[in-house]
Amino acid sequence: MARFVTRRLLTMVLMLFAISLVTFLLFIVALPGGNPAAMIAGRLATPAEVHLIAVHYGFDKPIYVQYIHTMANIFDGSAFSYQQGFNVLSQIGTDLPATLSLAIGAGILWLLSSIALGTLAAIRSGKYTDRVLTVLSMVGVSLPPFVLGNVLIIYVGYKASLIPLGGYVSLSHPAQWLWHMLAPWFTLSVLFVGFYSRVLRGSILDAMGEDYVRTARAKGLSEPQVLVKHVLRMSLLPIISLWGLDIAQVIGGGAILTETVFNLHGVGQQAALSIGNFDTVTLLTIVMLTALSVVVVGALIDILYAVLDPRIRLS
């Protein structure tokens, strides 16, 4: 087990290195002349001024030196965004609460509703309810945030005045916070519920045919008891691991569209802004954050797995 974990962590570190290198090179290649100094200096700068800026920020050094320098800055917290003019880590610290609120709230919403809908579809499999739920889930996976979110903003927000038109309010005003998060949670959840509930429906139906379920029935357990204690417990495993990866990506700024549509000023929106500004340092930091959250949430999910499946605890 320990060897497995070390190997996984090592692969992850190597992957992080490769991702950061590719991102860095992409932007060096993309920048006009490969020189961010010209961009910082502005249109009216003389070549001498551009050169001065290049020397000051170290853009005149070889690419590998620049790369090492940038990565070192990211890890010791002194990374500075030349393009947007802020300390990257403290800016991400400001953006993180909105993203965490979105990820955790939406994550709970989409997990619980897909468990409910998936179980319902499995119990009613083949019947009318099941077919309606299948079509609804296909509709759900076809609703991108920039359509559903804008429709909500137009009709529920603007016309009915039931929700705000966007923005994030910090948790120090809990009622306002909840008020502002409802629509983003819903919008992000709809994307996932359709697929999750179908996976759950499939794995419940598979589990129903297993021997241990027949044994549980033979023991004289009631149908709800069999479902909750035996079937659901095993069927939840694939969903939980999927959920972990998805939540980790949302925390790492993966919900770019939802955050942009509702103007939450989260990490994802920052990532989109940084790409538009060719802000390599900020983008690199966010990519590192994504990878970090994938590792951390992955570890947490492994523990949860062990709670749900006793066989894993034993080995």
């Binding site: 603007y158 990866l245 569209l257």
Partner: protein
């Protein structure tokens, strides 16, 4: 939609699992698996309906020039900032004095779905935008499927260092969230231009979208080929002295065909969605071209004065993607004999 990569990954894995169950032996003797699948498909009226609906959307968009020239008499980029049109007998400004565009007139000849903030006909632009969206979707899907299949078969067949390289490369691509990688590549290519094209074209976006999804197809195909290459028919072919190329594409490829068929609508839906997302964020289709994604983004300018500039392309996009998804779902059920047991 799978804006998070892990969901799409799992979705494809499930689809591949469904396809693997297919055996020629199932069903009455003398009927091939594809004929059987077609019989099952014919009974699934809902998914056939949505398949036809998607074809209808495609045909409508292909007819865009005809609608533009012979019915609406206005080009997709023709603005009219000061003009007036007759609506229900009285003259109205296309753009109100506050600059708010006129809403749907429901008159097939003039501004059927209203105007946008430049006084352009939304209905005409919708059809032209749809052409870009569908073109990019189809080209990106073809890129993904062709490269994904070839790489998957090669990696699974040769194993060893070739497999190691292909697998590590796909790990690298999919550890990035799909949208993040898409906008990074899209921005870079749109600024720099592709050296082959010298300028940004629709093909740039198609290449980005197609590239992002390649590893999602490589993995499941590779896994399937890994088990197929141990089967007797591959041994037999090798004994007969067939070369690796003949075995890979003559013997192995037909056996992963049903997986490929199932992936096509799935990848098409995802490609259309990713294109729209990139265009919405400004990293996809660039002016003067337009697509449903850029139209939604541009339409937000009119909010709260007018909504139709956001709703029209939004509804079209959802309609197209939803019909591909529901049709694809039916296709998967039809190709998977065990699906009957599950229902």
């Amino acid at each position: 939609m799978s804006f998070s990569g892990s969901e799409l990954r799992a979705e494809l894995a499930f689809a591949a699992q469904a396809a693997e169950g297919e055996e020629p032996a199932s069903g009455p003797p003398g009927i091939g698996p594809y004929k059987l699948a077609w019989r099952r498909m014919r009974r699934n009226k809902v998914s056939l309906f949505f398949g036809v609906l998607f074809l209808l959307v495609v045909i409508l968009c292909l007819l865009a020039p005809i609608y533009s020239q012979d019915v609406a008499h206005i080009g997709p980029n023709t603005g009219n900032l000061t003009g007036q049109i007759k609506v229900g007998g009285k003259l109205e400004y296309i753009l109100s004095l506050q600059g708010i565009p006129i809403g749907p007139t429901w008159d097939i000849h003039h501004y059927f779905l209203g105007a946008d903030s430049n006084g352009r006909d939304v209905a005409v632009r919708l059809l032209y935008g749809g052409r870009s969206s569908l073109y990019i979707g189809v080209v990106a899907m073809l890129i993904t499927m062709v490269f994904g299949t070839i790489l998957g078969i090669i990696a699974g067949y040769f194993r060893g260092w070739i497999d190691a390289i292909v697998s590590r490369m796909s790990d690298l691509v999919w550890s990035y969230p799909a949208v993040l990688l898409g906008i990074t590549l899209g921005t870079v290519l749109n600024v720099r231009g592709l050296w082959i094209f010298h300028s940004t074209t629709l093909l740039t976006t198609a290449l980005v979208v197609g590239f992002v999804y390649i590893p999602y197809v490589v993995r499941p195909i590779r896994a399937q080929v890994l088990t197929l290459r141990e089967r007797e028919f591959v041994d037999a072919a090798r004994q007969q002295g067939l070369g690796s190329l003949r075995i890979m594409f003559g013997e192995v490829l037909p056996n992963v065909a049903s997986t490929i068929i199932i992936f096509v609508p799935l990848m098409l839906a995802n490609a259309i969605l990713l294109e729209a997302a990139l265009s919405f964020l400004g990293a996809g289709v660039q002016a003067p071209n337009s697509s449903w994604g850029t139209m939604i983004e541009a339409g937000l300018v009119d909010f709260p004065g007018a909504f139709h500039t956001v709703l029209a392309p939004g509804i079209m996009l959802v309609l197209a993607v939803m019909s591909v998804n529901i049709f694809g779902d039916g296709l998967r059920d039809a190709l998977d004999p065990r699906s009957k047991a599950a229902i």
